[in-house]
């Protein structure tokens, strides 16, 4: 048993992993673990989860310096470069995917729809593209992108379980940590349930291809069982948690403890936000 234990339990100082990670990807794929998490062992994975989280604040605040796209664009470029060099380009791509719809909306609202004083760049009848509006849209999008890429990089390089452990070790309530973990599992879980219900309905002759109205009907037929199974799930989940000592009083531990470090760095990062905030306001 000892050798097996060593095989499945990684070293405790590898914060990129949870208690047990099987290396056999035929039976276990990281994509199933959590939507965002990228399995790996880069310097970013090894950094303390709360250090990464603390870095989000000064970075995001710094993005507001100046009136133009310049500062956020520089931060963004540096962030993307760092990620690519660290072989974490996938995180930049994920952030881009998250940002794309919002950027599009910003460009439409500020660049085209909203009227500006300046001369339009192009104009087709009532539609005109406005330089000032485009610049504002670009700056806003870049600022949001700095925040998104920072959060994505912080959260995609830590297994949710390790993040929750780090929080609990710093005195955050284990109930809150549970909510975070359950949230990380929610989308995959809902998707799995939906697939199961859909398969069941297909076998009973529901149409999942076909015309749009037909597919809409299938969608509504899916929603009810999904809702009902989720609601029943909640009652049973309470029992399941209770049977695992959820409401036991006292301290929580973790199968894989997160090594306590970086407190000073984390505080410094948070404190650094103050001068940056001042800079952003006056510049």
């Amino acid at each position: 048993m000892a050798s097996r234990a060593r095989r499945v339990v990684p070293q405790t100082d590898q914060h990129g992993h949870t208690g047990v990670v099987e290396t056999d990807t035929a039976t276990w794929s990281p994509a199933r673990v959590a939507e965002l998490y990228e399995i790996g062992n880069t310097w970013l994975h090894r950094a303390h989860p709360l250090t990464k989280l603390a870095a989000v604040l000064p970075l995001s605040v710094a993005g507001f310096a100046g009136d133009t796209v310049l500062v956020p664009a520089i931060i963004l470029a540096a962030a993307v470069l760092t990620l690519v060099v660290s072989r974490l380009g996938i995180i930049a791509l994920k952030s881009l995917r998250l940002m794309a719809p919002m950027t599009f909306a910003l460009v439409v609202i500020h660049g085209i729809v909203r009227p500006y004083d300046s001369e339009p760049l192009v104009a087709w009848g009532p539609i005109s593209v406005n330089a000032g509006g485009l610049a504002l849209a670009g700056t806003t999008a870049a600022r949001i992108a700095v925040f998104v890429i920072a959060v994505t990089a912080a959260m995609a390089t830590v297994h949710p379980k390790i993040f929750a452990t780090a929080l609990i070790q710093r005195g955050v309530s284990h109930k809150l940590a549970y909510a975070y973990l359950a949230g990380a599992e929610l989308i995959p879980e809902m998707r799995l349930r939906a697939t199961q219900i859909l398969e069941a309905q297909q076998s009973r002759g529901f149409d999942t291809k076909g015309s749009l109205p037909r597919r809409l009907r299938t969608l509504f037929a899916l929603l009810k069982p999904l809702l009902v199974s989720s609601l029943i799930g909640v009652e049973m989940r309470t029992l399941a948690l209770e049977s695992r000592g959820f409401s036991l009083p006292g301290r929580r531990t973790a199968a894989v403890a997160v090594r306590e470090r970086g407190r000073l760095l984390q505080r410094s990062l948070l404190l650094a936000s103050i001068p940056l905030l001042v800079l952003a306001v006056i510049w």
Partner: protein, 302 residues
């Protein structure tokens, strides 16, 4: 049929860990009571087997013993139910779950939905107990191994088959090492091999002194190790006693319980005038040996 064993159960002895007095329970969402006038005492040093037709209230009784009724599962009740000296009405939520481990009837319902590996699922309860990391890892792996899931430790709990989920649920309860285990049909999803494994696991636990309350529709594998059999039908205890004594009652053969083959054969032969002893065999081995004995008794005749 209630004459079978009421006196024994009603008396509250020192080793009775759960006692019900005229306990009637109705779920908030139900119109009819699920348990009706239940008077029963469960002994700490025994393996109590609870059986009966589906919908008879077995799972509900298990939930009372596990400390889930009347909270968090709501409902109204009359009479009293005491578990480990606590009135279930006033017991704080964790006092019973601290001593009673439980395996639900539906293993998929037992997941925390907040873990991404079978290992984390088992470890969760131990983390809540505040055990040191080394002990958590050792206990969780041992529990997973004992239910045959050693190769599945890194598998996502939702990706397990029904049988594997059931094993995982058992592992979760085992790892907590509670003195009392409530197992609600723990083999319902298992294939014959898996069932054999769980049966021998429960036997080991019982031999090691764990108090077991076991709900089972199919009595086959459990009779031989059960100290007591309680039949619940429509929320009432209709029979209660040692399996060997209880199963001599022909009224039990009317379809309320799944009578194991060895008992059925014994009863059938008895009806045809072939007596294989006063009490039914509880295993196929016992049946075979009593048939052999019968043969031996007859041999010297010519």
């Amino acid at each position: 049929m209630s004459g079978a064993g009421l006196p024994e159960s009603a008396s509250l002895t020192a080793s009775t860990f759960a006692s019900f007095e005229e306990f009637t329970f109705t779920y908030d969402t139900a119109s009819e009571p699920t348990l009706t006038g239940l008077t029963l005492g469960l002994r700490a040093d025994q393996l109590t087997l609870i059986s009966g037709p589906s919908g008879g209230g077995k799972s509900t009784l298990a939930r009372v013993v596990a400390g889930f009724i009347p909270r968090p599962l709501g409902g109204s009740f009359e009479g009293t139910a005491r578990v480990l000296g606590h009135d279930v009405e006033s017991a704080p939520p964790h006092v019973l779950t601290e001593s009673v481990g439980v395996v639900f009837d539906n293993p998929f319902d037992q997941l925390t939905a907040a873990t991404s590996t079978a290992f984390d699922e088992v470890a969760y309860a131990l983390e809540n107990e505040g055990l040191p990391p080394d002990e958590i890892v050792a206990r969780a792996l041992e529990a997973l191994e004992s239910v045959g899931l050693a190769e599945m430790t890194g598998r996502h709990p939702r990706r397990l088959s029904g049988g594997q989920s059931q094993r995982l649920a058992i592992a979760c309860a085992l790892a907590q090492r509670k003195p009392i285990l409530v197992l609600d049909d723990p083999t319902s999803q298992l294939d014959p091999t898996g069932r054999e494994e769980v049966v021998s696991l429960v036997r080991t636990l019982r031999d090691a002194g764990t108090t077991v309350v076991l709900v089972a529709q199919d009595l086959g594998h459990w009779l031989e190790m059960a100290d007591r059999l309680v039949i619940l039908d429509e929320g009432r205890v209709t029979a209660d006693g040692h399996p060997a004594t209880l199963l001599t009652d022909p009224r039990l053969f009317d379809g309320t319980i799944l009578v194991p083959r060895c008992v059925a054969v014994w009863a059938d032969l008895r009806r045809r005038g072939i007596a294989l002893g006063d009490t039914p065999p509880l295993t196929t081995d016992q049946l075979v040996s009593s048939v052999r004995n019968l043969g031996r008794e007859r041999e010297p005749t010519p």
